[in-house]
Amino acid sequence: MTVSGSSASKALKAVRAEEELQRSISYSKVRIRRGTAANYSKDDLRYDGAFSVKSGSSVDDHMSLVDETKTRYRELVGSIERFRLGTREADGISRVKGKAFNLVLERKIQDFAFFLNRLLDSKEPFRLWGLRSKASEDYYQVLALDMHTGSSIDLEISPEFIRAYLPEEACGNTLLRLYVNLQHYFDSRIRCEELVFQ
Protein backbone atom coordinates (compact mmCIF):
# COMPACT_ATOMS: atom_id res chain seq x y z
CA MET A 1 0.00 0.00 0.00
CA THR A 2 1.37 3.39 -0.94
CA VAL A 3 -0.09 6.51 0.62
CA SER A 4 1.02 10.09 0.30
CA GLY A 5 0.04 13.62 1.29
CA SER A 6 -2.68 14.03 3.90
CA SER A 7 -3.74 10.37 3.44
CA ALA A 8 -0.33 9.33 4.77
CA SER A 9 -0.90 10.90 8.18
CA LYS A 10 -4.43 9.48 8.31
CA ALA A 11 -3.12 6.00 7.48
CA LEU A 12 -0.39 6.35 10.08
CA LYS A 13 -2.98 7.38 12.69
CA ALA A 14 -5.10 4.34 11.85
CA VAL A 15 -2.13 2.00 12.17
CA ARG A 16 -1.04 3.55 15.47
CA ALA A 17 -4.52 3.00 16.87
CA GLU A 18 -4.42 -0.76 16.18
CA GLU A 19 -1.75 -2.66 18.09
CA GLU A 20 -2.24 -5.85 16.07
CA LEU A 21 -1.72 -3.90 12.84
CA GLN A 22 1.52 -2.36 14.11
CA ARG A 23 3.16 -5.77 14.27
CA SER A 24 2.11 -6.71 10.75
CA ILE A 25 2.79 -3.52 8.84
CA SER A 26 6.22 -2.13 8.17
CA TYR A 27 7.57 0.62 5.99
CA SER A 28 8.60 -0.54 2.51
CA LYS A 29 9.92 2.84 1.54
CA VAL A 30 9.83 6.47 2.51
CA ARG A 31 9.81 9.43 0.16
CA ILE A 32 12.27 12.20 0.94
CA ARG A 33 12.33 15.63 -0.65
CA ARG A 34 15.46 17.74 -0.29
CA GLY A 35 16.42 21.14 -1.67
CA THR A 36 14.43 24.26 -2.45
CA ALA A 37 11.00 24.65 -4.04
CA ALA A 38 12.58 25.29 -7.42
CA ASN A 39 15.62 23.04 -7.23
CA TYR A 40 15.06 19.78 -5.41
CA SER A 41 15.32 16.02 -5.53
CA LYS A 42 12.49 13.70 -4.52
CA ASP A 43 13.76 10.20 -3.73
CA ASP A 44 12.23 6.94 -2.61
CA LEU A 45 14.43 5.13 -0.10
CA ARG A 46 13.49 1.48 0.24
CA TYR A 47 13.88 -0.62 3.40
CA ASP A 48 16.64 -2.62 1.69
CA GLY A 49 18.69 0.47 0.90
CA ALA A 50 17.68 1.01 -2.73
CA PHE A 51 17.20 4.60 -3.92
CA SER A 52 15.08 5.77 -6.79
CA VAL A 53 14.75 9.36 -7.92
CA LYS A 54 11.08 10.18 -8.47
CA SER A 55 11.29 13.79 -9.57
CA GLY A 56 13.32 16.98 -9.35
CA SER A 57 16.41 18.29 -11.05
CA SER A 58 18.97 18.64 -8.25
CA VAL A 59 21.64 15.95 -8.61
CA ASP A 60 23.48 17.53 -5.65
CA ASP A 61 20.53 17.01 -3.31
CA HIS A 62 20.15 13.42 -4.46
CA MET A 63 23.86 12.74 -3.99
CA SER A 64 23.95 14.35 -0.55
CA LEU A 65 21.02 12.14 0.53
CA VAL A 66 22.86 9.04 -0.71
CA ASP A 67 26.06 10.13 1.05
CA GLU A 68 24.32 10.90 4.32
CA THR A 69 22.48 7.59 4.27
CA LYS A 70 25.73 5.74 3.58
CA THR A 71 27.48 7.57 6.42
CA ARG A 72 24.72 6.74 8.89
CA TYR A 73 24.64 3.13 7.74
CA ARG A 74 28.42 2.83 8.11
CA GLU A 75 28.22 4.27 11.64
CA LEU A 76 25.48 1.84 12.56
CA VAL A 77 27.44 -1.12 11.18
CA GLY A 78 30.48 0.10 13.14
CA SER A 79 28.46 0.30 16.36
CA ILE A 80 27.29 -3.28 15.80
CA GLU A 81 30.81 -4.52 15.22
CA ARG A 82 31.85 -3.29 18.65
CA PHE A 83 29.73 -6.12 20.09
CA ARG A 84 31.38 -8.90 18.08
CA LEU A 85 32.77 -11.78 20.12
CA GLY A 86 36.50 -12.23 20.01
CA THR A 87 39.73 -11.26 21.68
CA ARG A 88 41.83 -8.13 21.88
CA GLU A 89 45.54 -8.11 22.51
CA ALA A 90 46.96 -5.77 25.13
CA ASP A 91 50.43 -6.08 26.68
CA GLY A 92 50.81 -9.51 25.11
CA ILE A 93 47.64 -10.78 26.81
CA SER A 94 44.52 -11.87 24.89
CA ARG A 95 41.44 -10.50 26.61
CA VAL A 96 37.95 -11.49 25.59
CA LYS A 97 35.36 -9.03 24.36
CA GLY A 98 31.89 -8.76 22.93
CA LYS A 99 28.37 -9.78 23.75
CA ALA A 100 25.22 -11.16 22.18
CA PHE A 101 22.54 -9.12 20.42
CA ASN A 102 19.07 -9.51 21.88
CA LEU A 103 16.27 -9.23 19.33
CA VAL A 104 13.00 -9.03 21.23
CA LEU A 105 9.85 -10.06 19.38
CA GLU A 106 6.38 -8.77 20.07
CA ARG A 107 4.87 -11.27 17.68
CA LYS A 108 5.68 -14.68 19.12
CA ILE A 109 7.01 -17.49 16.94
CA GLN A 110 4.29 -20.12 16.97
CA ASP A 111 5.34 -22.55 14.26
CA PHE A 112 9.06 -23.19 14.75
CA ALA A 113 9.38 -25.64 11.85
CA PHE A 114 7.98 -23.10 9.40
CA PHE A 115 9.91 -20.19 10.87
CA LEU A 116 13.25 -22.01 10.88
CA ASN A 117 12.77 -23.45 7.39
CA ARG A 118 12.07 -20.01 6.01
CA LEU A 119 14.89 -18.37 7.97
CA LEU A 120 17.50 -20.95 6.94
CA ASP A 121 16.54 -21.80 3.36
CA SER A 122 19.48 -19.77 1.97
CA LYS A 123 17.10 -17.76 -0.20
CA GLU A 124 16.11 -14.11 -0.19
CA PRO A 125 15.34 -12.25 1.96
CA PHE A 126 17.31 -13.78 4.86
CA ARG A 127 19.97 -15.59 2.83
CA LEU A 128 20.99 -17.68 5.83
CA TRP A 129 21.99 -21.32 5.80
CA GLY A 130 22.15 -23.12 9.13
CA LEU A 131 22.11 -26.21 11.29
CA ARG A 132 19.48 -26.17 13.99
CA SER A 133 19.29 -28.23 17.15
CA LYS A 134 16.64 -28.29 19.80
CA ALA A 135 17.96 -27.14 23.18
CA SER A 136 14.61 -27.55 24.94
CA GLU A 137 10.89 -27.66 24.14
CA ASP A 138 10.69 -24.25 22.45
CA TYR A 139 14.30 -23.17 22.38
CA TYR A 140 16.60 -23.75 19.40
CA GLN A 141 20.28 -23.29 18.79
CA VAL A 142 21.21 -22.43 15.21
CA LEU A 143 24.71 -22.34 13.73
CA ALA A 144 24.22 -20.28 10.61
CA LEU A 145 26.16 -18.90 7.67
CA ASP A 146 25.37 -15.62 5.97
CA MET A 147 25.27 -16.54 2.28
CA HIS A 148 25.86 -12.92 1.37
CA THR A 149 29.23 -12.60 3.13
CA GLY A 150 30.09 -16.24 3.92
CA SER A 151 30.61 -15.43 7.61
CA SER A 152 29.06 -17.27 10.52
CA ILE A 153 26.41 -16.16 12.98
CA ASP A 154 25.13 -18.14 15.98
CA LEU A 155 21.51 -17.84 17.02
CA GLU A 156 19.36 -18.89 19.94
CA ILE A 157 15.69 -18.76 19.11
CA SER A 158 12.78 -18.83 21.51
CA PRO A 159 9.17 -17.78 20.79
CA GLU A 160 9.75 -14.34 22.25
CA PHE A 161 13.35 -13.46 21.40
CA ILE A 162 16.36 -14.24 19.24
CA ARG A 163 19.86 -13.99 20.60
CA ALA A 164 22.50 -13.48 17.93
CA TYR A 165 26.29 -13.75 18.27
CA LEU A 166 28.66 -12.34 15.68
CA PRO A 167 32.25 -13.54 15.56
CA GLU A 168 35.08 -11.09 15.04
CA GLU A 169 35.39 -11.73 11.29
CA ALA A 170 31.68 -11.14 10.60
CA CYS A 171 30.39 -7.89 9.16
CA GLY A 172 27.89 -5.88 11.21
CA ASN A 173 25.80 -5.85 8.06
CA THR A 174 24.86 -9.51 8.71
CA LEU A 175 23.08 -8.56 11.93
CA LEU A 176 21.52 -5.45 10.48
CA ARG A 177 20.05 -7.36 7.51
CA LEU A 178 18.65 -10.02 9.84
CA TYR A 179 17.05 -7.32 11.98
CA VAL A 180 15.59 -5.40 9.02
CA ASN A 181 14.26 -8.54 7.32
CA LEU A 182 12.65 -9.80 10.53
CA GLN A 183 11.15 -6.35 10.95
CA HIS A 184 9.87 -6.37 7.39
CA TYR A 185 8.70 -9.97 7.06
CA PHE A 186 7.86 -11.13 10.58
CA ASP A 187 7.39 -8.52 13.29
CA SER A 188 7.56 -4.81 12.59
CA ARG A 189 7.69 -4.12 16.33
CA ILE A 190 10.89 -6.13 16.82
CA ARG A 191 13.52 -4.30 18.81
CA CYS A 192 17.20 -4.94 19.38
CA GLU A 193 18.47 -3.97 22.82
CA GLU A 194 21.97 -3.28 21.52
CA LEU A 195 21.05 -1.13 18.50
CA VAL A 196 20.82 2.61 18.98
CA PHE A 197 19.22 4.50 16.10
CA GLN A 198 19.79 8.22 15.88
Binding site: L85, D121, S122, Q141, L155, F161, R163, P167
Partner: protein
Protein backbone atom coordinates in the same frame (compact mmCIF):
# COMPACT_ATOMS: atom_id res chain seq x y z
CA UNK B 1 30.69 -21.72 31.34
CA UNK B 2 28.11 -20.06 29.09
CA UNK B 3 25.77 -19.56 32.03
CA UNK B 4 28.49 -17.81 34.04
CA UNK B 5 29.57 -15.60 31.13
CA UNK B 6 25.88 -14.78 30.67
CA UNK B 7 25.71 -13.46 34.26
CA UNK B 8 28.35 -10.90 33.26
CA UNK B 9 26.46 -9.85 30.11
CA UNK B 10 23.16 -8.03 29.90
CA UNK B 11 21.00 -10.40 27.95
CA UNK B 12 17.27 -10.73 27.69
CA UNK B 13 15.94 -13.81 29.51
CA UNK B 14 19.07 -14.43 31.58
CA UNK B 15 20.00 -12.80 34.91
CA UNK B 16 22.64 -10.07 34.81
CA UNK B 17 23.56 -10.49 38.47
CA UNK B 18 27.29 -10.02 37.99
CA UNK B 19 27.01 -7.43 35.21
CA UNK B 20 24.88 -5.34 37.60
CA UNK B 21 27.87 -5.21 39.96
CA UNK B 22 30.13 -4.15 37.10
CA UNK B 23 31.74 -7.52 36.35
CA UNK B 24 33.04 -8.11 32.84
CA UNK B 25 34.77 -11.24 31.64
CA UNK B 26 38.38 -10.43 30.80
CA UNK B 27 40.29 -13.68 30.59
CA UNK B 28 39.50 -17.20 29.50
CA UNK B 29 41.75 -20.15 30.34
CA UNK B 30 44.75 -18.00 31.15
CA UNK B 31 47.55 -19.92 32.88
CA UNK B 32 48.70 -17.98 35.95
CA UNK B 33 51.83 -18.73 37.95
CA UNK B 34 51.08 -18.41 41.67
CA UNK B 35 53.41 -16.99 44.28
CA UNK B 36 54.12 -20.53 45.44
CA UNK B 37 55.37 -21.50 41.99
CA UNK B 38 52.39 -23.58 40.85
CA UNK B 39 50.37 -22.95 37.70
CA UNK B 40 46.61 -22.54 37.82
CA UNK B 41 44.36 -22.18 34.78
CA UNK B 42 40.95 -20.75 35.76
CA UNK B 43 38.19 -21.19 33.19
CA UNK B 44 37.48 -17.48 33.31
CA UNK B 45 38.28 -14.33 35.25
CA UNK B 46 35.79 -11.49 35.56
CA UNK B 47 36.67 -8.09 36.96
CA UNK B 48 34.51 -5.35 38.44
CA UNK B 49 35.85 -1.79 38.38
CA UNK B 50 32.97 -0.84 40.66
CA UNK B 51 33.89 -3.27 43.44
CA UNK B 52 37.60 -3.38 42.52
CA UNK B 53 37.22 -7.11 42.77
CA UNK B 54 37.94 -10.09 40.62
CA UNK B 55 36.08 -13.40 40.39
CA UNK B 56 38.26 -16.34 39.42
CA UNK B 57 35.97 -19.08 38.12
CA UNK B 58 36.44 -22.81 37.85
CA UNK B 59 33.44 -24.15 35.92
CA UNK B 60 32.86 -27.82 36.54
CA UNK B 61 30.74 -29.66 34.00
CA UNK B 62 31.99 -33.06 35.19
CA UNK B 63 31.94 -34.68 38.59
CA UNK B 64 35.43 -34.25 40.00
CA UNK B 65 38.22 -31.75 40.53
CA UNK B 66 41.62 -32.21 38.94
CA UNK B 67 44.09 -33.74 41.38
CA UNK B 68 45.85 -31.07 43.44
CA UNK B 69 43.74 -28.25 42.01
CA UNK B 70 42.63 -26.87 45.37
CA UNK B 71 46.12 -26.92 46.83
CA UNK B 72 47.47 -25.09 43.77
CA UNK B 73 44.75 -22.43 44.11
CA UNK B 74 45.64 -21.97 47.78
CA UNK B 75 48.88 -20.38 46.58
CA UNK B 76 47.07 -17.81 44.42
CA UNK B 77 47.58 -14.25 45.71
CA UNK B 78 46.18 -10.96 44.47
CA UNK B 79 49.65 -10.00 43.23
CA UNK B 80 49.60 -12.99 40.88
CA UNK B 81 46.43 -11.62 39.24
CA UNK B 82 47.34 -7.96 38.88
CA UNK B 83 49.69 -8.64 35.96
CA UNK B 84 46.83 -10.20 34.00
CA UNK B 85 43.71 -8.20 34.72
CA UNK B 86 42.96 -4.61 33.77
CA UNK B 87 41.38 -2.20 36.23
CA UNK B 88 39.98 1.05 34.93
CA UNK B 89 39.96 2.69 38.33
CA UNK B 90 42.62 3.90 40.72
CA UNK B 91 40.52 2.86 43.72
CA UNK B 92 42.36 -0.08 45.08
CA UNK B 93 43.53 -2.41 46.18
CA UNK B 94 42.14 -5.25 44.06
CA UNK B 95 40.72 -8.22 45.92
CA UNK B 96 39.53 -11.54 44.55
CA UNK B 97 37.51 -14.67 45.23
CA UNK B 98 37.93 -18.10 43.74
CA UNK B 99 34.48 -19.47 42.90
CA UNK B 100 33.38 -22.88 41.63
CA UNK B 101 30.43 -22.98 39.22
CA UNK B 102 28.80 -26.40 39.19
CA UNK B 103 25.66 -28.16 38.00
CA UNK B 104 22.98 -28.59 40.66
CA UNK B 105 23.16 -32.39 40.45
CA UNK B 106 26.89 -32.39 41.27
CA UNK B 107 26.67 -29.72 43.98
CA UNK B 108 27.01 -32.11 46.91
CA UNK B 109 30.10 -33.75 45.43
CA UNK B 110 31.85 -30.42 44.87
CA UNK B 111 30.82 -28.84 48.18
CA UNK B 112 32.86 -31.49 49.92
CA UNK B 113 35.90 -30.92 47.74
CA UNK B 114 36.01 -27.13 47.47
CA UNK B 115 35.84 -25.93 51.07
CA UNK B 116 36.22 -22.99 51.95
CA UNK B 117 35.53 -21.45 48.54
CA UNK B 118 32.10 -20.19 47.43
CA UNK B 119 30.15 -22.35 44.97
CA UNK B 120 27.48 -21.22 42.49
CA UNK B 121 25.15 -24.09 41.72
CA UNK B 122 23.24 -23.90 38.42
CA UNK B 123 19.96 -25.80 38.26
CA UNK B 124 17.04 -25.90 35.85
CA UNK B 125 15.06 -23.51 38.01
CA UNK B 126 17.52 -21.52 40.08
CA UNK B 127 21.07 -20.42 40.76
CA UNK B 128 22.10 -20.87 44.37
CA UNK B 129 25.16 -19.72 46.26
CA UNK B 130 26.82 -22.00 48.78
CA UNK B 131 29.35 -20.47 51.17
CA UNK B 132 30.18 -16.77 51.15
CA UNK B 133 32.23 -14.48 48.94
CA UNK B 134 34.56 -12.00 50.63
CA UNK B 135 32.40 -9.09 49.43
CA UNK B 136 29.07 -8.30 51.05
CA UNK B 137 27.77 -6.75 47.78
CA UNK B 138 28.17 -10.11 46.07
CA UNK B 139 26.66 -12.08 48.93
CA UNK B 140 23.73 -9.67 48.94
CA UNK B 141 22.90 -10.52 45.32
CA UNK B 142 22.71 -14.21 46.13
CA UNK B 143 20.84 -14.13 49.47
CA UNK B 144 17.81 -15.54 47.68
CA UNK B 145 18.23 -18.19 45.00
CA UNK B 146 18.10 -16.55 41.57
CA UNK B 147 14.90 -17.69 39.92
CA UNK B 148 15.41 -19.04 36.40
CA UNK B 149 11.80 -19.67 35.50
CA UNK B 150 11.13 -18.30 32.02
CA UNK B 151 14.87 -17.82 31.47
CA UNK B 152 16.83 -19.13 28.48
CA UNK B 153 20.49 -19.91 29.10
CA UNK B 154 23.00 -18.50 26.63
CA UNK B 155 24.56 -21.33 24.61
CA UNK B 156 26.99 -19.65 22.29
CA UNK B 157 29.39 -17.44 24.24
CA UNK B 158 31.87 -20.25 24.76
CA UNK B 159 31.45 -22.77 21.92
CA UNK B 160 33.31 -25.82 23.26
CA UNK B 161 36.47 -27.07 24.93
CA UNK B 162 38.62 -30.12 24.30
CA UNK B 163 36.80 -31.76 27.22
CA UNK B 164 33.41 -31.60 25.49
CA UNK B 165 31.75 -34.57 23.87
CA UNK B 166 31.66 -35.00 20.08
CA UNK B 167 27.96 -34.07 20.01
CA UNK B 168 28.90 -30.53 21.11
CA UNK B 169 31.80 -30.12 18.68
CA UNK B 170 30.46 -31.82 15.54
CA UNK B 171 27.82 -29.20 14.59
CA UNK B 172 30.48 -26.47 14.64
CA UNK B 173 32.89 -28.61 12.65
CA UNK B 174 30.18 -29.30 10.07
CA UNK B 175 29.43 -25.62 9.73
CA UNK B 176 33.13 -24.94 9.28
CA UNK B 177 33.27 -27.60 6.52
CA UNK B 178 30.31 -25.92 4.85
CA UNK B 179 31.92 -22.49 5.12
CA UNK B 180 35.14 -23.79 3.55
CA UNK B 181 33.24 -25.54 0.73
CA UNK B 182 31.36 -22.33 -0.07
CA UNK B 183 34.58 -20.35 -0.23
CA UNK B 184 36.25 -23.11 -2.22
CA UNK B 185 33.95 -22.40 -5.13
CA UNK B 186 35.41 -18.88 -5.08
CA UNK B 187 39.01 -20.04 -5.10
CA UNK B 188 39.64 -21.02 -1.46
CA UNK B 189 41.01 -24.36 -0.25
CA UNK B 190 38.87 -27.51 -0.49
CA UNK B 191 37.00 -28.95 2.49
CA UNK B 192 37.78 -32.41 1.09
CA UNK B 193 41.54 -32.10 1.46
CA UNK B 194 43.06 -33.07 4.82
CA UNK B 195 45.76 -30.40 4.79
CA UNK B 196 43.11 -27.63 4.74
CA UNK B 197 42.51 -28.38 8.41
CA UNK B 198 46.16 -27.87 9.33
CA UNK B 199 45.66 -24.13 8.94
CA UNK B 200 45.34 -22.20 12.19
CA UNK B 201 43.21 -19.61 10.35
CA UNK B 202 40.68 -22.26 9.40
CA UNK B 203 40.59 -23.89 12.83
CA UNK B 204 40.21 -20.55 14.60
CA UNK B 205 36.88 -20.10 12.79
CA UNK B 206 35.34 -22.77 15.02
CA UNK B 207 35.96 -20.91 18.28
CA UNK B 208 35.42 -17.19 18.90
CA UNK B 209 38.00 -17.17 21.69
CA UNK B 210 40.59 -19.26 19.82
CA UNK B 211 43.36 -16.69 20.33
CA UNK B 212 42.69 -16.58 24.08
CA UNK B 213 43.10 -20.34 24.46
CA UNK B 214 46.42 -21.77 25.62
CA UNK B 215 48.77 -23.28 23.02
CA UNK B 216 48.15 -26.76 24.49
CA UNK B 217 44.38 -26.29 24.31
CA UNK B 218 44.57 -25.09 20.70
CA UNK B 219 46.74 -28.09 19.79
CA UNK B 220 44.29 -30.47 21.50
CA UNK B 221 41.32 -28.85 19.79
CA UNK B 222 43.09 -28.89 16.42
CA UNK B 223 43.74 -32.63 16.74
CA UNK B 224 40.19 -33.24 17.86
CA UNK B 225 38.71 -31.25 14.96
CA UNK B 226 40.96 -32.93 12.37
CA UNK B 227 39.97 -36.35 13.76
CA UNK B 228 36.27 -35.49 13.54
CA UNK B 229 36.58 -34.17 9.97
CA UNK B 230 38.44 -37.30 8.81
CA UNK B 231 35.96 -39.62 10.52
CA UNK B 232 32.87 -37.86 9.18
CA UNK B 233 34.12 -37.55 5.61
CA UNK B 234 35.26 -41.18 5.59
CA UNK B 235 31.96 -42.54 6.88
CA UNK B 236 29.48 -40.33 4.99
CA UNK B 237 29.90 -40.76 1.25
CA UNK B 238 26.72 -38.74 0.64
CA UNK B 239 28.22 -35.75 2.45
CA UNK B 240 31.44 -36.05 0.48
CA UNK B 241 29.64 -36.09 -2.88
CA UNK B 242 27.39 -33.15 -1.92
CA UNK B 243 30.45 -31.14 -0.90
CA UNK B 244 32.14 -32.02 -4.19
CA UNK B 245 29.06 -30.77 -6.01
CA UNK B 246 28.99 -27.55 -3.99
CA UNK B 247 32.69 -26.88 -4.53
CA UNK B 248 32.27 -27.34 -8.27
CA UNK B 249 29.43 -24.76 -8.48
CA UNK B 250 30.06 -21.25 -9.63
CA UNK B 251 27.97 -18.11 -9.14
CA UNK B 252 24.53 -18.32 -7.61
CA UNK B 253 23.45 -21.76 -8.84
CA UNK B 254 24.13 -23.47 -5.54
CA UNK B 255 20.71 -23.86 -3.93
CA UNK B 256 20.23 -27.59 -4.58
CA UNK B 257 23.40 -28.69 -2.77
CA UNK B 258 22.71 -26.24 0.08
CA UNK B 259 19.40 -27.86 0.98
CA UNK B 260 20.80 -31.38 0.65
CA UNK B 261 23.81 -30.50 2.76
CA UNK B 262 21.64 -29.10 5.51
CA UNK B 263 19.57 -32.29 5.60
CA UNK B 264 22.65 -34.54 5.57
CA UNK B 265 24.50 -32.54 8.21
CA UNK B 266 21.49 -32.34 10.53
CA UNK B 267 21.14 -36.13 10.20
CA UNK B 268 24.80 -36.54 11.22
CA UNK B 269 24.29 -34.28 14.26
CA UNK B 270 21.15 -36.19 15.17
CA UNK B 271 22.91 -39.53 14.83
CA UNK B 272 25.74 -38.31 17.05
CA UNK B 273 23.36 -37.00 19.74
CA UNK B 274 21.56 -40.35 19.79
CA UNK B 275 24.89 -42.16 20.10
CA UNK B 276 25.83 -39.98 23.10
CA UNK B 277 22.56 -40.90 24.79
CA UNK B 278 23.20 -44.62 24.08
CA UNK B 279 26.73 -44.31 25.50
CA UNK B 280 25.34 -43.13 28.81
CA UNK B 281 23.63 -46.50 29.26
CA UNK B 282 26.53 -48.70 28.15
Amino acid sequence: MNCVIGLCARDVCWPSTLADLGYQVQLIEQTIRTGSGDDVKPDMIAVSDVLVHSLVFECKGGISLDAGQISRYKGLRVGDLTRWVTLRTANGPLTFDLCFAVREETELIFLGQTDPYPVLSFGENAIKKRRDFSRTELNGRFIEAIDLSGMRPPLNYYPFSDQDKDAVIIPRVLRMIMQIALKSSKGGPSALVDSTFDSEDILSGTHVYWKALSTEHRTELGNRIRGIVRRILASHEDLRSQLEELESKRGYKIRGPLTNLRTTMEAIVDECEKQEIMNRYV
